[in-house]
């Protein structure tokens, strides 16, 4: 998964719900560590503004 930075509003919802702690906050935007990401899709499921993309 990747987070489209221009769509992310920085609410932090995906950061805390990521089951493998693969999402960090950088400059108040969510950024996925692709090496740690398992592509489970939880972030896409919970994002209110559809910022995470496969």
């Amino acid at each position: 998964m990747k987070i489209e930075q221009e769509k992310c509003v920085g609410c932090g919802g995906c950061v805390n719900l990521c089951p493998v702690d693969a999402i960090s906050f950088i400059d108040d935007r969510a950024v996925i560590d692709e090496a740690a990401c398992t592509d489970c899709g939880t972030c896409a499921q919970v994002c209110g503004v559809a910022a995470p993309q496969q």
């Binding site: 509003v9 920085g10 609410c11 932090g12 919802g13 995906c14 950061v15 805390n16 719900l17 702690d21 960090s24 906050f25 950088i26 400059d27 108040d28 899709g41 896409a44 499921q45 919970v46 994002c47 209110g48 503004v49 559809a50």
Partner: protein, 444 residues
């Protein structure tokens, strides 16, 4: 082993900031961490209205003379931002019928709309002014462990992971708390409704026919997916604009797949929904979002030497004012514990006695109006139409509002039984619904 910190506070929202400030004033060495860089900036969808109904969380919060006052807990915190008194709560059906509740407070208000960023800025400034409070932005609390002599909190900052030791920890890291999860406490909680996602817009130039109102859009016809919650209210906006700003919030179940996202629903609502005409000139000045799990409250918010405060311990939320109050109470309990070796359990008792969702009977009373969401839109149109001209008074407090609505509708029961006997029977059944049923029914 001597530790660097007496208390490690995870989360610099209203609960964490209040806890840090009180502990700092008591002389404790405090570490306050938060994942954000710009701490008072609010990116998360949050209506942040002051709930002024006496008795909410066994407290009565008012806003007067530049401060929020907590009468029962006997403290105040400065608030220098703007406020908008909300004079009525208007529930709008898909067919445009309304049920209007006038404000029951001495000022004739149902709630007070305020600016959460201004509140947090003031709280942060007061915490930052204390030398014994160390503030670490851009730092995520990943987990906490009770150790032989206190707590170990695992942190991540700019890609590096490390552990800090303290005597006590405060988990103020919000509704999806990592610290609560790491302690295994979520296994003790039940899930209602699964997950929700939320999107909200702050907009200028909204042609809203209900000024100074808390507006709830009721019924399936407002959304693409036929489910969800939609609210709107005016919001003061930091001197950034002189125009009236409306905050529109849409929350829908996070179902994944082809189900509409909160973003699709809010865009539908303003562009093609039943009331799109209100928004034809609207300009979006801010977008916010949120995601949350609906878990029953923590029965015991103290685990070893970790106190869980605010939304981290709650079902849905404690409101901002509850976060402040529980942060205040937990900090005093920890300060007493640090000074005398006892007192932390006072916070757990207060939580158990004051957070409404801990009391099944209170939940039952408050959920007796939830069933409205399962009615067909034409039924809601009909019922709201009956209340035209009624003199209904109340607040927006989620613990009393459903009962206010139910009472208003039941005042017309004779007519409903005569004209719509099936609907009358359905309405009466809501009174007998169990808490679990009510909350699940609400999700459809």
């Amino acid at each position: 082993m001597s530790k660097k910190y007496d208390v490690i506070v995870a989360g610099a929202g209203p609960a964490g900031l209040m806890a840090a400030q009180v502990l700092g004033e008591k002389g404790a060495r405090v570490l306050l961490v938060d994942i954000k860089k710009d701490l008072p900036r609010v990116h998360r969808a949050c209506c942040a209205n002051l709930i002024i109904e006496p008795g909410t969380h066994r407290e009565w919060v008012t806003c007067k003379d530049g401060a929020f006052h907590f009468a029962e807990n006997r403290f105040s915190i400065p608030y220098s931002g703007a406020v908008i008194g909300l004079k009525r709560s208007v529930k709008v059906s898909a067919g445009g019928k309304t049920l209007t509740i006038a404000g029951k407070s001495p000022e004739g208000q149902v709630a007070v709309s305020y600016e959460k960023e201004a509140l947090l800025q003031g709280m942060l400034a007061r915490a930052a002014a204390q030398n014994n409070i160390e503030i670490m932005p851009e730092t995520q609390a990943l987990g906490v462990e009770n150790t032989a002599g206190g707590v170990a909190v695992k942190l991540r900052s700019k890609g590096a992971e490390f552990t800090v030791q303290g005597s006590y920890a405060v988990a103020a890291d919000g509704v999806n708390s990592h610290l609560v999860e790491s302690l295994g406490l979520n296994k003790t909680r039940r899930t209602f409704l699964g997950r929700f996602m939320v999107a909200s817009y702050h907009m200028e130039e909204v042609d809203c026919p209900y000024p100074e109102s808390w507006i709830t859009f009721m019924g399936k016809g407002h959304t693409l997916g036929g489910r969800g919650q939609i609210y709107m209210c005016p919001k003061p906006h930091g001197g950034a604009t002189d125009k009236t700003v409306y905050e529109l919030t849409v929350g829908v179940p996070a179902l994944g797949g082809a189900a509409p996202s909160a973003k699709q629903e809010i865009d539908h609502f303003i562009n093609t929904g039943k009331f799109a005409s209100w928004f034809q000139h609207a300009r979006i000045i801010d977008t916010r979002a949120a995601a949350l799990n609906f878990l029953t409250p923590l029965v015991n918010p103290v685990e070893g030497t970790v106190a869980v405060v605010g939304d981290a311990a709650a079902f849905i939320e404690t409101y901002v004012q509850g976060a402040i109050m529980y942060g205040y109470q937990a900090a005093h309990a920890i300060a007493n514990q640090l000074a005398t070796g006892a007192g932390l359990d006072a916070y757990a008792r207060s939580w158990g006695n004051s957070f409404e969702y801990n009391d099944p009977e209170e939940i039952k009373r408050s959920t007796q109006g939830f069933g409205l969401h399962v009615l067909e839109d034409k039924d809601i149109d009909y019922l709201f139409g009956l209340t035209a001209g009624d003199d209904i008074h109340g607040f927006v407090n989620e613990f009393s509002d459903p009962l206010t609505v139910r009472t208003a509708l039941f005042n017309h029961m004779t007519q409903i039984e005569r004209e719509r006997p099936v609907l009358a029977a359905t309405l009466k059944r809501f009174s007998d619904v169990s808490v679990a049923e009510a909350l699940q029914v609400n999700a459809q």
